[in-house]
């Protein structure tokens, strides 16, 4: 098993596993956020509160943070190794035909990481550790997350940053989804094209889903 964790392929598998888990989380997160525009703020607050307080979800949350942590640490580790494997670079930049997004995984990753930190400070840590700065609860034990979110999305600079970050996250996912399956050794004449299509659709859903919420809230006078 040691081979699986420390070898080059093992590290990649760990990366992929964590990444796919994060991809699932992104979908769930999107679903809850969607409530803001398809339902009312109260339902959103209830759902958000459920995610924050349910015992089982708490366990999942630990796994989630572990996933994020592993994905980042392994990502950095692999990247450093990759840089070290070519100490003297080429004068002429590479002209080989490659999948475009795969070349910029580390760059998109850095942007996503910065966004993630801001995001966690703005929403997650605020509701957990900075209760004073929170608006009053909408019902006993149910925090008013909706108000915080809406307040953020009413600021144009934030919306722009948000849209750019999700576009880059989408780029990351374009490559990441199908790449994970390749890393797991899954390659099949019939099914691999399906996986690639699903990956693209998934990335598009993430980009447009999250962007839509931000835009609707920013543009609509109802919020």
């Amino acid at each position: 098993m040691a081979n699986l964790l420390t070898s080059s392929i093992g590290k990649k598998i760990t990366m992929s596993l964590a990444g796919l888990f994060l991809a699932v989380f992104l979908l769930v997160h999107l679903g809850i956020n969607m409530l803001l525009i398809v339902s009312d703020t109260y339902t959103f607050n209830v759902a958000a509160n459920f995610m924050a307080s349910n015992k089982l979800i708490k366990v999942v949350e630990i796994v989630l943070f572990l996933g994020i942590f592993l994905h980042i640490i392994y990502g950095i580790w692999l990247q450093i190794q990759n840089w070290m494997s070519r100490p003297v670079g080429y004068a002429k930049s590479n002209n080989s035909q490659t999948s475009f997004f795969s070349k910029y995984m580390i760059h998109t990753a850095v942007v996503i990481l910065i966004f993630l930190v801001i995001h966690l400070v703005d929403f997650f840590f605020k509701s957990k550790f900075m209760k004073d700065s929170m608006p009053p609860e909408v019902a006993p034990g149910i925090e008013d997350m909706a108000t915080i979110v809406i307040a953020k999305f009413k600021q144009l600079p934030f919306v722009i940053i948000y849209l750019v970050c999700f576009l880059l996250l989408g780029f990351h996912l374009f490559h990441a989804f199908q790449s994970a399956f390749q890393t797991f050794g899954f390659s099949h004449k019939k099914y691999t094209p399906c996986i690639k299509t699903v990956g693209v659709i998934y990335a598009l859903i993430i980009i447009f889903g999250y962007s839509l919420i931000a835009l609707v809230i920013y543009l609509s006078p109802n919020y």
Partner: protein, 251 residues
């Protein structure tokens, strides 16, 4: 045709290299890239200068000895070929051509454009074989092999060990090279017997030698002169995962 050549010159492994610019004229478009370099060397020798050192041998695209990173592509601007099969008609008259050695930690430069690819041999020595010695083998037809697997094995076995995959990979990864050998032998019943040990040993050796990791970018597949596909890397991953989980030994 006339060309301006920017060529990496480096006296030996320890020396600091630099680009030198050379002009060459009256080159036939039917001339191969290496023959163009031959002609340049001939002019250098006439001037009692040290000719440019580059690896080459069979000059028909099968020995895997020629290398060269030409205008940002290993084996230059054509698909499914080695440098010796590249012809000057692929360039425009008056072009400036930048020629670099292959760059990777595992491929140190020996002189000018010549690099040491011994690392690839070491990976094979770690397990890229069926552990049998001469004699005592069964009749060739005693074990049938499905035509499909035999053909897939041949697809992978065509690797010429040139290292273009490593040269073009942004991570200088040797995964396609290792995948080709692992696939070739894993697909055949003769190689299946020790497939688990083989994949673990070869991957460990690859890691030891300082090659990078695979990020499924596909540059290797695009530049492989023998069109070896990424499917083989998936097979390598698969073999590795099963071997890693099931194997009781540590490699």
């Amino acid at each position: 045709m006339d060309f301006t050549l920017k060529i990496w010159r480096q006296e030996n492994a320890k020396a600091k290299g630099r680009f030198e610019t050379y002009k060459i004229s009256n080159i036939s478009s039917d001339c191969s890239f290496l023959e163009m370099l031959d002609q340049l060397n001939e002019t250098l020798v006439d001037k009692i200068e040290i000719p440019i050192c580059f690896d080459h041998d069979c000059r028909e695209g099968i020995c895997g000895m020629c290398s060269l990173y030409i205008n940002g592509r290993p084996h230059g601007p054509d698909d499914d070929i080695t440098t010796c099969q590249l012809h000057m008609r692929k360039f425009k008259d008056g072009d400036t051509i930048t020629i670099e050695p292959w760059r990777a930690k595992a491929f140190p430069v020996i002189k000018d454009l010549m690099v040491d690819r011994n690392a690839l041999d070491k990976i094979i020595q770690a397990g890229g074989y069926v552990s049998i010695s001469t004699g005592g083998v069964p009749d060739a037809n005693s074990i049938p092999v499905s035509k499909k697997n035999s053909d897939l094995a041949m697809d992978a076995a065509q690797c010429i060990g040139c290292g273009a995959c490593v040269a073009t990979c942004k991570n200088a990864s040797a995964m396609l090279f290792v995948a080709a050998k692992v696939s070739h032998l894993a697909l055949l019943p003769q190689g299946k017997v020790e497939a688990k040990e083989r994949v673990l040993r070869m991957v460990r050796k690859m890691d030891e030698l300082g090659f990078g990791n695979c990020t499924n970018t596909g540059a290797c597949e695009a530049e492989c002169p023998k069109s070896i596909t990424l499917t083989n890397i998936a097979r390598l991953n698969r073999e590795f995962i099963f071997a890693g989980i099931l194997s009781e030994d540590k490699y």
